[in-house]
Every structure is written in structure tokens, then in C-alpha cells.
């Protein structure tokens, strides 16, 4: 029995993937999300003002890592008084140096200064920063390039989705599994807790916690979205576990002497995972929306941040700067749409009844 169940299980996933692949929209969405991940991972190489790799005074450095974490930026440049400006300083302080620059020389956190890149004027500021060859998506009121902001903002958008739903998924599955499998007073307790958490308005909770925190960061936002967004997942998991614990393979597993933890993890969970993945995917979409609306309201990550929602917030005071609305708006829309399409594709690919209905 134990030997045959993994084979059948993998057969189920292979079958689901085969069906998923047939849906062009879902596949396009998956490709889009993969592209976003690529952009997020390579953000400092796509847009930035720090060299991707450079040779300086005989050694190789990768200052662009500073965009991921300040501590990764080599300190020799601060010591040599680069003041954050690489192109000229590299040449002046070591004529033998060379550097590989990002595709677009623009910074997501500040305006590029006059002649910072030899021969290029400073970014336009106020309401004059229309999209141009140099500033592909225009600049905001302070002269910060919108394209660079959006490239670096991709990381936030993706992280918010994955981290918060990672948290929500773990809590939801554990709570739901315990309630559904054990039943009795445990089920009673977890169901009531689930209902109570459902009543908490996420947005209000985030607003108040952000006001209380000494140093609010994007991680707090993710944690709160995750800690309040698991209820739907828990209910679904509980339902699946209730259903599956009566099934024959579980009885068989129990008969062979498997303990409850083993049964839950090894036998029930893999079979229950498909329907649970669907709300998680939708949850990622809604977490991205929540983060954007928070940033729009001014409660996002602390400035200067490159979050898409905060670009929208900049547009609020001057709607004639359409590029501050259109680009981040489209990006949020497409990302949320992509996750929803993936979720839907997943649902149809894994749910036999839906499959039948569509035929």
C-alpha cells in the first residue's frame, strides 16, 4: 500500500500539470510571474547606479549587491569618498578600473544628478518628468526614475505575496489539519478561533500596528497579512481532512499502525494539497493588492521606497502626471490578474468535477 500510493500521487500531479499546460491563459500568467521573478532577482543589474561588477585598485567588487542589503556594498568605496557616485569616481581614483553597468543607469531611491553619468543632464523633477529615452517611464516630483522604482518594486510585490501567503498557508494548514483530523473539542476550538480571526479587519489592524511600531518595515506588513489571512485556507483544509480521514487508504494506513502525525503528513496532506493551493494563489493576489493600497495610503514601507503602491501615492497630488498612475497601475493589475489566472488554472486542472463540467 505504502509503495503504491506515492506513484499514484505523482501521477495525479503529472496529470494536473498536463492539463494546466493546455490552458494558454494560465500558462501566459505563469510565464509572466516567472518573468517578474527574474526581474526581481536581477533588479540591480537592470536598473541602478552601482556597477554590477567592477575592478577597482586591483580587486573585483559587486557594489550592486548594496541594493539587496546595505551591508553587502563594499566599504572601500565609502572610505574613498565616492559618496554614492560611481562612474566618475571610479575613473578618477583608479584610471585602470573597469566596470559592468546596469542596463539602465537610474536609481530607484534618488534622482540622478547632473553629469553623474558623463554627458547626461540631471533627471527632470516637479511635473516635467514625462517618459523619455532616458527616463523610460518618466520621473516623479523629486526626479526619481519611475522605471527604476518599478523594477526594484517588483521584489516587494513578489515578496509580499510569497511571504505573507507562506505564513498564512502554514498556519492555515496546521490549524485546519488538526481540527479536521482530530475532531471533537480540538475541532471545536480551532473552528471558533478561525471564526474569531475572520472577524478581524486586516487593514485596520495593520494601520494601528504600523502606528505603534518604532520602526515599521515591509516585513511587519507581510507578517500581519499572513497572520490574519489564513482562515479560508484553514477551513478548506479542515473540510478536506474531514473527508479524507474516512477514506479507505487512511483506514489502511491506520491498520498498518501509522501514527496520526504520519497519517496527516504522509497520507492525507498530499491528497488534500490541490484544493488548498487554489486559495493560496488567490491570497497572493490579494496580499499584493493590500500592500499596494497600504502604500497608497502612506502606510507602506518607509520612504524612500520603490513599492508600486507608493508610486501611485505620488500621483495623488497631481493627476496630470499620468505616467505615475499608468505604469504602476498596469503592473499591479497584470500581476494580480496573473495570480488569479494561475489560481483558476490550478483549480480547473486539479478538480475533476470542474473538468467534467467544462467538457
Amino acid at each position: 500500500m505504502n509503495a503504491s500510493s506515492p506513484i499514484r500521487s505523482s501521477g495525479f500531479w503529472a496529470e494536473a500539470w498536463r492539463r494546466f499546460r493546455r490552458k494558454p491563459l494560465a500558462m501566459a500568467a505563469l510565464a509572466f510571474v516567472s518573468l517578474l521573478m527574474l526581474v526581481a532577482g536581477l533588479a540591480p543589474a537592470i536598473a541602478g547606479t552601482k556597477p554590477v561588477i567592477c575592478r577597482y585598485k586591483g580587486r573585483l567588487y559587486a557594489p550592486c549587491l548594496g541594493y539587496f542589503d546595505r551591508r553587502l556594498e563594499p566599504t572601500i568605496f565609502a572610505k574613498d569618498k565616492f559618496r554614492g557616485t560611481y562612474p566618475r569616481n571610479l575613473v578618477e581614483k583608479d584610471p585602470g578600473s573597469w566596470a559592468v553597468w546596469p542596463l539602465v543607469f537610474q536609481d530607484p531611491y534618488r534622482s540622478v544628478r547632473d553629469d553623474e553619468w558623463p554627458g547626461r543632464p540631471a533627471n527632470p523633477a516637479r511635473d516635467e518628468g514625462r517618459p523619455s529615452r532616458i527616463n523610460l517611464f518618466g520621473t516623479d516630483q523629486a526626479g526619481v526614475d519611475v522605471f527604476a522604482k518599478m523594477v526594484h518594486g517588483t521584489t516587494i510585490a513578489l515578496l509580499v505575496g510569497f511571504v505573507s501567503m507562506g505564513i498564512a498557508g502554514s498556519i492555515g494548514i496546521v490549524v485546519g489539519a488538526l481540527g479536521g483530523y482530530l475532531g471533537g473539542w480540538v475541532d471545536m476550538l480551532t473552528s471558533r478561533v478561525t471564526e474569531i480571526v475572520m472577524c478581524i479587519p486586516t487593514l485596520v489592524l495593520i494601520l494601528s500596528i504600523m502606528a505603534l511600531l518604532e520602526k515599521p518595515t515591509i516585513w511587519h506588513t507581510m507578517a500581519i497579512i499572513g497572520a490574519t489571512g489564513w482562515t479560508g485556507i484553514a477551513r478548506l483544509t479542515r473540510g478536506e481532512f474531514l473527508r479524507l480521514r474516512q477514506s479507505e487508504f487512511v483506514t489502511a494506513a491506520r491498520a498498518t499502525g501509522a501514527g496520526p502525525v504520519r497519517i496527516m503528513l504522509r497520507h492525507i496532506l498530499p491528497n488534500a494539497l490541490a484544493p488548498i493551493l487554489v486559495p493560496i494563489t488567490f491570497g497572493i493576489a490579494s496580499a499584493i493588492l493590500t500592500e499596494s493600497s497600504l502604500s497608497f495610503l502612506g502606510f507602506g514601507p518607509p520612504p524612500p521606497s520603490a513599492s508600486w503602491g507608493s508610486i501611485l501615492n505620488d500621483a495623488r497630488s497631481n493627476l496630470s502626471m499620468w505616467w505615475l498612475v499608468v505604469f504602476p497601475g498596469v503592473a499591479i493589475f497584470l500581476t494580480v490578474l496573473a495570480y488569479n489566472l494561475i489560481g483558476e488554472g490550478l483549480q480547473e486542472a486539479t478538480d475533476p468535477r470542474l473538468r467534467e463540467a467544462r467538457k
Binding site: T75, A78, S111, S317
Partner: protein, 661 residues
């Protein structure tokens, strides 16, 4: 009813905090028609108001507890014999303005000015010159109505409860006052209400003789007894007066010798006494029966009725009040005409309608559609949203300097900013030009200190506005011992055996412009190895944190008072609004001296010196002066700007008019 008084007193500090907050955030500069800056005034009011007494229903406390020491005023004849009275100015603000305008050359005709787009300093000057003039005889439409707006409802219609900017706007028109000041903030007694004003040679007494032809809106005469009575009410600690007690608390006593003769007794001969004798007035015949029973002045049935339809002592009375929507004032006949004869000039507007609109975007729409006739424009609105025909079809806009300044405040009690060199390094590190040009659209002037460059108390030798100089900033930081010891790219210093990195939080309210300024500072300091965490903070929290000194740095602003002495509570050691913890004995001494010097030129030297010392010490990095930007309907004339905007001085709002069709 008495039970409530304790509760109200408990609430008083909260009220002051909220209004003080308005000051820190700088809502449209709250002017006090009758005197010094509201912003500063409040602070003085706080210490005594926090001394909340236990709830008590017993009879009134003995006089000693009632805010004033018992005082027996000497006979008037004795005073007159000793005082050596010196005459002080009694003026009519409108007449003065009319005289002054006769000397001015008009730069454009009205039609030319109305056709102008305000896109240059020259155009602005033409518009102000042509449209700011007072009417020729018979030119003004005396039946006209002006539609104004306020950004919040009135807390109270009682004149002594005045504290928010909306209350100053409205109660300034319905209230009675003896004193005012002109557009260069020169104080005088108003000829509309005062026959003569004299000060004793030793500066300890002020004698005012009222005119005998002034009436309350219920027909009873306004007398010196009303003013003396109001003084005792304001000084009673049971009365929850939010703002006006600061100033009156510097007085020893106010005594009415007869219906017209009033003497103010001062504790000390201060230059600021002219502002202290200036407070709103209650009708004694109404309140003397009711206030002892209900010192909150708003809970008893009589007071509720009065709150709804107050007795007015000014040129206008409130005729309609829809809470949260609008307040309508109408000119009262008994102001200008007494006993069938015209004794005063009639105000130009028959009716003033105040709409209550909180959101500036909504008020701009209302201005464009002609629903309101005036508003304060934000820099972005001025630059980008008031250019087209939708605005200039009905409206015009003007700008003028205003004494409202913004700054970064450095908490001197933290290890970072205790050293003057570091505060100067901060000022050198900040890119002032980028802030002024990019973020402020080139509309604001750079600030160098607590007094405006054009004011009389500013030093003769102009102080240079700070300019960015990263080399100097780094040199100063190195000198002060903040270098990168541990090679992590961030400057640090060993304090008490621990290596402290130079990383601090910058508190700022959530207004986009101010967040952008802090972000610019972050970028600048980043370049020289100092880390800043910008923390946009909800405004009440920001106010609280700065009050309690729980901050490292913040961005805030102050509106200047009419008198430089009002800045003392920002700079004196341990003063209530000295958020940065600044302390310099010389500054303390200069403020104390400045108050006691009566000659203006000599006083100016004291304050100029203070300005220079503050410039050297840089407890603030001064950023900019926020000028006035106003949109006005094209039908409106007569706006003239003072350092405190177009309304809150004399004549101020009274000079506005509309031409006959």
C-alpha cells in the same frame, strides 16, 4: 453642573495639544486679530491649565485661587497725579491704509490686472497693486455677500474660547476689541472703539477711555465694566480658556473706574504689555448672572442658548449656524449707526458666508465653480492646477511673503546632536537648492533663523542661507570624532565604551512634500556615511513625541508671533516648546532683556543678537519660509497682505470689498 467643570479642566491640556499641533503642522497660519501668535500663546496657557483641580461642587474658591491676587486699585485722581501719562496711538486701520495707498503708484488698471495670468513677480505686483486698492466713494457694493470657507467647524462661539484658525476667522468679525495692529505688526488702539489710550511713564499702567457710542448687538452699551469683568472670568482657573489666558496672566489687574475709563495694571514694565492688554470681551450684563453657576460657559441651559445665538460686540453677528456645514454672518446695523446717527464706517459686506470644507482639493473645485471667493493655495495647486481657463475664468491668484518657517529640529539631548559641529554638518550636508527648486517649485524663500529676514528684529547684516557643502560637512563630522572606525561604511563613535553608529530617525508628518524633504536629507547624508530612517508619523503622535522629547530629529514649522518675545518659549532653557532641548544662557538673558527694553531700535539689537547666536548654534537647520498663496474671485478687491496673511491684522479682512455691478 459644577461637576462638569473638573472634567472640562481635565480636558484642557488636550485642547491645547491639539491646537499646538495645528501650529506644528502649520495649518493656515492661525492669526489672532487681537494680538500675538496663537501658536505661541497656547504654550503659555498650558502650565497653569495642567494643574487640574479636583472635581468640586463647593462654593467658588477664595480669590487667591482664582488666578489673581487680591488688589485694591488706587483712586483715579491719585493715578492721574503720579502717572505722567504718555499718549499712545489711536488709529483707524482702514483710514491708514487709505492714506498709505494715496502715496502708492498703481502699476496697472483693474482690467489689465484681471486679464493677467499670475506667472511672474511683475504680474503678481501688478495684480496686488491694482486689485488691492480700497474703493473710491460709492464704488463698493454695500449689499454684497462674500463666500468664504474655513477648514473646520467652530468649537465655540464664545469669544474667550477662541483657539482654532476657524474661530479666529469668524470670532474676529463678531468680537469686540480695543486694540489691533497694522500690516507691519505695529500695535495701536482702534479708533472705532477707543477715544484715548495712555501709558504711564514707568510703563506699569495703561489707561484707555472708551467711546460712548458702542453697543452690543442686543442694544446695551459696551462699557469699561465689560472688559474688567472679562478679565476676571478669563483669569478664573475654573473657566476652560484654551488660548487667551497667556498674556492676561502677565497683568496685575484690570479696573473700570467708570463706564468709559479703564486702567490696566501691569506686573512689570514690559515691551510686550501692549499685547497683554489685548483680549476678547464678554458682555457683562449677560454672563455676570450665569458664569458663577456654570464656569464652563457652555453646559447650563442659558449658556447653550448663548452658544447658539451669541451677543456680538463686533461689526457682524452670527445669524445662521449649521454644524459641519456653514456659518452665516450678517452686518449689524447697531455697529455703525447709534441713536439714528452714523458714528462709524459701515463694513463693506452685508453678509459673510463661511462654508466648512476640510479637503483642499474640494475647496479648489469650489473656488473654480464660484461657490467660494477665496482660498489658500498649496504650492502644487499654485503651479500646476491654477493655470487654465477653468481657474482664471472666475479667479485670480496672488502671493506675498508670510512669516511661517520650517526646519529640521535636532534633539540636543541625544549623543548625535549634542555637539554644535554636528548640527552645522547637517546643515551643510542638506541640499537646500534641490529642496527649494525641485520640491518647493521655487516658490519658497530660504530661511536662516527664527525671525524673518525682512522683520525689524532681524540682524542688519544679512545671514547667509546654508548651501550644500559635503566637504565641510565631512570635515566637521571627522572633527567631532564621528568617523568610520569599524569599516562598515557608516560613521560611528565610541560612547561609554560602545561603538554607536550614526543612524537616527527623522520624524515627519505624512504630507508628501515634507516626506520628500526628509528623503532628500536621507540621500544627502547617505553620501557621507550617516544613515537616516525617515518615519512618516501620524500628526498627533508626532506632536506627542516632540513634546516628550522622544525623538532624535523631526521636521516641523512655526508661525511667527506679532512680537519677537513670543519666540522665547521655543528657545529659552527648559521652555515648553523647546523641543530640541536647546540651552544658551546668553539667549535666555537676551530674551529677558528684550522684553524690558521699550525702545524698538534697542530691542531690535537684542533679538538680532539672538538670531546670530542661533545661526551659529544651529539647533535647527532652517529650511524655508512658506509664503502666502491665495486664490481670489475676480469680483473681490482690496486684499492687502501682512506677514500674517491677508486677514488677521487691521484692516485685514475689513479692507476687502466688491464693486457695484
Amino acid at each position: 453642573m459644577h461637576r462638569w467643570s473638573g472634567v472640562e479642566q481635565g480636558r484642557r491640556p488636550a485642547v491645547s495639544v491639539i491646537v499646538a499641533l495645528a501650529a506644528l503642522l502649520l495649518l493656515p497660519a492661525c492669526g489672532r486679530k487681537t494680538g500675538d501668535a496663537l501658536e505661541e500663546a497656547l504654550e503659555n496657557a498650558r502650565p497653569e491649565s495642567t494643574a487640574a483641580e479636583p472635581t468640586r461642587a463647593e462654593p467658588a474658591p477664595p480669590p487667591a485661587e482664582r488666578g489673581t491676587e487680591p488688589f485694591t486699585p488706587p483712586a483715579l485722581a491719585a493715578l492721574d497725579a503720579e502717572a505722567k501719562w504718555i499718549d499712545r496711538p489711536v488709529r483707524d486701520g482702514l483710514k491708514m491704509l487709505r492714506e498709505a495707498q494715496k502715496q502708492e503708484t498703481v502699476l496697472a488698471t483693474v482690467d489689465e490686472a484681471l486679464a493677467l495670468e499670475n506667472d511672474s513677480a511683475a504680474a503678481n505686483a501688478k495684480i496686488l497693486s491694482a486689485l488691492g486698492r480700497l474703493p473710491e466713494p460709492e464704488q463698493a457694493d454695500l449689499e454684497a455677500r462674500i463666500d468664504r470657507h474655513v477648514t473646520g467647524d467652530l468649537g465655540s462661539t464664545n469669544p474667550i474660547m477662541i483657539s482654532t484658525s476657524a474661530e479666529f476667522d469668524i470670532l474676529g468679525l463678531t468680537g469686540f476689541g480695543l486694540f489691533s495692529f497694522d500690516r507691519i505688526l505695529e500695535p495701536f488702539a482702534t479708533a472705532e472703539t477707543v477715544a484715548s489710550w495712555q501709558t504711564s511713564a514707568d510703563g506699569l499702567l495703561d489707561k484707555v477711555v472708551l467711546r460712548d457710542d458702542i453697543l452690543w448687538s442686543d442694544g446695551r452699551p459696551i462699557t469699561a465694566h465689560d472688559i474688567a469683568f472679562t478679565y476676571t472670568v478669563i483669569m478664573d482657573p475654573r473657566v476652560p480658556v484654551p488660548a487667551v489666558r497667556s498674556g492676561t496672566d502677565q497683568l496685575r489687574w484690570v479696573h473700570a473706574y467708570d463706564d468709559r475709563t479703564l486702567v490696566f495694571f501691569h506686573k512689570e514694565p514690559l515691551a510686550t504689555n501692549v499685547w497683554n492688554i489685548n483680549f476678547p470681551v464678554l458682555p457683562k450684563h449677560i454672563y455676570e448672572k450665569t458664569w458663577e453657576q456654570d464656569p464652563t460657559l457652555k453646559d447650563s441651559p442659558e449658556h447653550v442658548t448663548l452658544e447658539q445665538s451669541p451677543v456680538s460686540g463686533g461689526p457682524y453677528e452670527i445669524v445662521e449656524r449649521k454644524r459641519g456645514q456653514q456659518i452665516v454672518l450678517r452686518r449689524r446695523a447697531s455697529w455703525a449707526t447709534v441713536g439714528g446717527t452714523r458714528v462709524r464706517e459701515e463694513p463693506f459686506f452685508k453678509e459673510i458666508r463661511f462654508r466648512i470644507i476640510e479637503d483642499p482639493n474640494t475647496s479648489l473645485l469650489a473656488l473654480k465653480s464660484g461657490e467660494i471667493d477665496e482660498m489658500i493655495l498649496l504650492p502644487e495647486q499654485w503651479t500646476t492646477q491654477t493655470k487654465g481657463e477653468d481657474f482664471s475664468g472666475r479667479n485670480t491668484k496672488v502671493t506675498a511673503p508670510e512669516w511661517v518657517s520650517f526646519h529640521f529640529g535636532w534633539n540636543i539631548e541625544t549623543p548625535f546632536f549634542a555637539d554644535r559641529r554636528i548640527r552645522r554638518a547637517m546643515s551643510y550636508a542638506f541640499d537646500h537648492d534641490a529642496m527649494l527648486e525641485k520640491l518647493c517649485y521655487g516658490l519658497y524663500e530660504p530661511a536662516v533663523g527664527t525671525f524673518h529676514q525682512s522683520s525689524w528684529m532681524s540682524p542688519k547684516k544679512k545671514l547667509e542661507p546654508s548651501k550644500q557643502d559635503l566637504d565641510k560637512a565631512e570635515a566637521l563630522l571627522d572633527e567631532a570624532g564621528w568617523t568610520d572606525h569599524d569599516n562598515d561604511g557608516v560613521r560611528d563613535k565610541e560612547i561609554n565604551g560602545r561603538l554607536v553608529p550614526f543612524e537616527f530617525s527623522m520624524l515627519v508628518n505624512q504630507q508628501p512634500l515634507r516626506v520628500a524633504i526628509c528623503t532628500l536629507l536621507k540621500e544627502n547624508l547617505d553620501q557621507i556615511g550617516v544613515r537616516v530612517n525617515v518615519r512618516p508619523t501620524e500628526s498627533t503622535v508626532l506632536q506627542q513625541l516632540t513634546q516628550e522629547k522622544k525623538f532624535q530629529a523631526y521636521l516641523g514649522g512655526w508661525g511667527a508671533g506679532t512680537d519677537p518675545d513670543s519666540s522665547e518659549n521655543i528657545w529659552a532653557t527648559g521652555a515648553g516648546r523647546n523641543f530640541t532641548g536647546y540651552s544658551n544662557p546668553e539667549v535666555d538673558r537676551l530674551f529677558a532683556e528684550g522684553r524690558r527694553v521699550l525702545d524698538r531700535a534697542k530691542r531690535a539689537e537684542k533679538y538680532a543678537r539672538i538670531q546670530e547666536i542661533l545661526y551659529e548654534d544651529q539647533p535647527y537647520t532652517w529650511l524655508y519660509w512658506r509664503n502666502s498663496f491665495y486664490g481670489f474671485s475676480k469680483g473681490l478687491r482690496g486684499y492687502v497682505f501682512s506677514p500674517r496673511g491677508p486677514y488677521h491684522y487691521s484692516p485685514g479682512f475689513s479692507s476687502l470689498w466688491m464693486p457695484r455691478e
